[in-house]
Every structure is written in C-alpha cells, then in structure tokens.
C-alpha cells in the first residue's frame, strides 16, 4: 500500500541523499585535514569539483565501446536506487517492497561489475589492474556484508530493510552482542568497499597501490563528475545502512509526518559524527599491503558469522 506521506518521505530521502552525499565526502576530507594539522579545502570542495568537471569537455579514449560511455550513468543510477531503498528518514517507503537487503547487495555487485568492465574496456594496464583488485576486494567483502545484513534480519525475521529497522526501533534497550559483532564487521566492510585507508587510499592518483582511482583514470568531464558523485553516494548509502541497522533511533515509523521532519536533523547529526569517526579511523591506521586485504575482510566475515551464531546461542 502506498501512502502520500510514504511517497513524500521517499522523494525527500532520495533528493537529500543526492544533495548531501558530496557534502559528506567533503566533511570526511575536512576532518582528515584537521587531524593532520592542515587547514583543508572546506567541506564544500566536492561541489566545486563537480561543478568544474560538469563544465569541462568529456574526452573518450580511442577505441572505447558504448559500454564505456553508459557506465557513469549506470553507476549514478544504481547508487540513487540504493539510496532510495535504505530507510534513512522513515520506515514507510514505497520503494522498500521492490527490493530487500539481498537485492541491495546485488545492486552494489551490479555497479561493481559495470565499473570493472568499463575499466578493462579501454585496454590500459592501470584500468585492468584496478578492475582485478576491485573484483578481489568485492568478492571478499560481499559475503561479509550479506552476513551482517542476515544478522539484523534474523533478529527481525525479515530481509526487508524497512521491516528490520522498524523491529530494531521497537526493541528494548539491552546489550546485543550479535549486533556489536555485526557493527564492527560492517565498519570493516565499509572501509574496504568505499576505498578508504586500510585497503585503498582515496587521496592518491599516482601510485601503484591504488584501486578505485586506477579504474577511473580514463574518465574525464561529466563522466568523471558522475562517477565521483556516485562514489560519494556509495559512501553516503553505506553510512546510512550502518545508521539504520545499528543506531536506528530517530527514524520515523509509519506515516508519521512530524517524525519525518524531526528525523532530518537527527540523521545529519549522526552522519556528521560518523564522518568524523571515519576520518579518525583513517588517520590512525596505515594502508595495508593488498595481499593483507583477504585477511582484513576474512576477519570482517568471521565477525559477522560470529554475530549470527552468537545470536542463535545467546539471544534466541
């Protein structure tokens, strides 16, 4: 059943995600700059960069197939859809019946496949290298992410994200070891999937260790702008999944329009704190060798599975 308030919440949420995602990335970068005793470009820098890139001419490499052209649009569209599925402001979303948590992970996988194919399409060494590394990280991070979502689904007996969040909101305040495990595992997956520091360095363009940047080296102009925007959206969506599963208080339930208005400042505050924490994690840790990434993500998988098992043993 689709209600008017549900549609309003859905539209607000989607536009908010698209508009705020670059700000979130800028905020994380600004916090990192502060922690490194630099003044930093300010949290609005990603908007300026997007504006600049949209005005520039887009150059396509010689011999690029149509796949290379459409990938930025698929990326951006996929991330917008993901942002629409995750309940960030209210649990009563019309889109939620369309896709559950497993479909969300599938959507991330689809986007990953397209960007890897586009990176290999040009035929440069860097693109292929980045694509291979991305697929390696992806196939290790995906089961861990699924296990985290399953832990939350087991508690709520449903894989639909909005039902899960609704159940989590109604739970009594208690210590849930399973959710603590899942939370740590999710943070590790977030770092790996968004090319953050222990796995990849988002600040570098010319190093042999890069993953995300290696794949998008050949893009320019509006294509690059869309890809960067999609990357910001991905970080935003991941942060929102984390908030929805582990700190759900403040999210409006049902067709509560007052709750929807109140949910907005709560969400922004939670995102600001989360972004600052992300910057702290990135500042205190060093980038790992790529061959250590399987251990890192294996640990994330282990924690998520332990969370699930501990739920069966201690909380059922």
């Amino acid at each position: 059943m689709i209600s008017a308030s549900g549609v309003a919440a859905q539209i607000t949420e989607l536009f908010l995600a698209v508009a705020l995602a670059p700000l979130m990335t800028g905020w994380v970068n600004q916090c990192r700059a502060w922690l490194q005793n630099k003044s930093g470009p300010g949290p609005l820098q990603p908007y300026r960069m997007l504006g600049k890139l949209f005005q520039k001419e887009s150059v396509i490499a010689y011999g690029a197939s149509p796949l290379f052209r459409i990938t930025p649009y698929i990326l951006f569209g996929g991330m917008c859809l993901a942002a629409a599925i995750v309940p960030t402001l209210a649990t009563d979303l019309p889109f939620n019946t369309a896709a559950d948590a497993i479909a969300l992970v599938g959507l991330f996988a689809l986007v990953r496949v397209f960007i890897s194919l586009a990176a290999m399409d040009i035929g440069t060494a860097f693109g292929t290298l980045g694509a291979r590394r991305e697929m390696m990280i992806g196939f290790l991070a995906e089961p861990a992410l699924l296990m985290v979502l399953f832990t939350a689904s087991l508690i709520s007996q449903s894989t639909s994200l909005s039902i899960t969040v609704g159940k989590l909101l109604q739970m009594d305040l208690a210590i849930y070891p399973s959710l603590a495990f899942a939370g740590i595992a999710f943070t590790m997956v977030l770092l790996a999937e968004n090319a953050r520091i222990p796995i990849d360095n988002p600040a570098t363009h010319l190093e042999l260790t890069m993953i995300h940047e290696a794949m998008i080296l050949e893009y320019s102009g509006r294509h690059l702008a869309l890809i960067e925007w999609a990357a910001s959206l991905k970080l935003f969506v991941y942060a929102c999944i984390g908030i929805a599963l582990f700190l759900p208080f403040g999210i409006a339930q049902g067709g509560d329009s007052l709750g929807l208005i109140l949910a907005l400042p709560v969400l922004v505050a939670k995102l600001a704190v989360g972004g600052a924490l992300l910057a702290v994690i990135e500042t205190v840790s060093a980038k790992m060798r790529i061959f250590r990434a399987p251990e890192f993500l294996g640990t994330a998988f282990l924690l998520a599975v332990l969370g699930m098992l501990v739920h069966f043993l201690l909380e059922s």
Partner: protein, 219 residues
C-alpha cells in the same frame, strides 16, 4: 528480556569467543601473551559477575585467584621467558589465517550444536554460555595444532584451561574451592616446568620449533 547481569555475562562470553579467535590468528608472540592476559581478565570479570548475581560467595575467591594467576603471574612469567629466550619479536610465519578462521567457524558451529542439548538441562543463569566455553576450548586446541613454536603452543594450552574454567562456571557455578586451587597450582607448576623445557629445547636444537622433536634419530 534478560536481566542485566545475564546480559553482561553474555557480552563477556562473546568477548571471550572473540579473544579466542584473535589468539588463533595472532602471529606475534608478544601480542599473543597480551591477548592471553586479556582473556584472563574477561574470565575473572565474568566469574565476578556470576558471583554477584547468584550470591555464590566462593566464586569471588575463584575470580580473585583467576585474576592473580592469569592476569598477573602467568603473563609476567611468559614475558620474562620470551625476553630471556630472545623471542620477543618472533613471528609465526607458517600460518594461513583465512583457512584457520574458516576451520575455526566450523568448530564454533560444532561446539554450539553440542552444547545446545546440555545447556537446556542446566538451570544456571549462565547456561547459554556453555557453547561459547566449548567453542573457546576447541579453538585453543586448534591453536595448539596449527602452531609450530613452543611458546604459542603453551599459550594455547593455557587458553584451553581458561575455557575449561569458564565451562565449569557456566555449567555448575564453578568447581569446589579445593579443586580450583589444585588446578591453579597445577597450571602454575606446569608453566614453570615448561619454561625450563623451553631452554632445554633451545639448547638442544638452537630453535624453539618443536617440529625438531618429531625426529627420533640423530643424523
């Protein structure tokens, strides 16, 4: 909705399981000893919480003994040993961490399944943690199997004793005080004897790799 003390015990049990995994996959000897001390601390805390919530006063004493032995004395002896043996920064190289973790997960599932019917019979507030105790025991056992250096093996043995102690607390609120003191003394004496063994092994083979002990003949 569980009472708060039960929740805290469950959380400590979950931390114990996490520490068992951390020890299983830790390559550095120094960090291994620190993890062992942390496991002892968690054990002492959970015993104290059980004592407080059930009113079993003898458990306070066993928490105290656990703290003194497993957080203070044994880690101190181990630190001294690795300093004297000059293996403080030793790293276990032959250890495939992802595979070990996967085997560990299988062991945990096995232990949880084994413990489920037993814990349903028990009437203690800690009954659900029996599975975690058994899992920690199996993980410590796995650690002893996968390690080839002498010091990590001994730490695995001590971790196994920790898990057994936790199992006793969770199933029956601990053993009689005499038995507990006896075990504590055994562990302490065992540790001292193994410490002497380390020096002997190193003198004989110039390394602490116990695979040298598998050869029967001298060539």
């Amino acid at each position: 909705m569980l009472p708060l003390s039960s929740q805290v015990i469950n959380l400590l049990a979950a931390i114990l399981l996490l520490l068992a995994f951390a020890m299983l996959t830790q390559r550095r000897i120094l960090s291994l000893i620190n993890l062992f001390a942390l496991q002892g601390l968690t054990l002492a805390l959970s015993t104290a919480v059980v004592a407080w919530s059930t009113g079993q006063s003898h458990l306070y004493w066993s928490a105290l003994v656990t703290f003194a032995l497993k957080v203070v004395v044994l880690p101190w002896i181990l630190h001294r040993l690795i300093r004297r043996l000059n293996v403080k920064w030793d790293v276990e190289t032959l250890l495939n961490i992802p595979t070990t973790m996967l085997i560990g997960i299988v062991l945990v599932i096995l232990a949880f399944n084994l413990a489920l019917p037993i814990s349903q019979l028990a009437g203690t507030i800690t009954k659900s943690t029996l599975g975690i105790a058994m899992a920690s025991m199996l993980l410590a056992f796995l650690m002893m199997i996968t390690r080839s250096k002498a010091v990590p093996q001994v730490i695995g043995f001590l971790a196994m004793e920790n898990a057994l102690f936790f199992a006793a607390t969770s199933a029956t609120y601990g053993m009689p005080m005499v038995v507990e003191l006896g075990i504590a003394l055994d562990v302490l004496v065992g540790m001292i004897i193994l410490g002497v063994f380390f020096f002997q092994i190193r003198e004989r083979f110039d390394s602490l790799d116990i695979r040298h002990l598998e050869k029967l003949k001298e060539e």
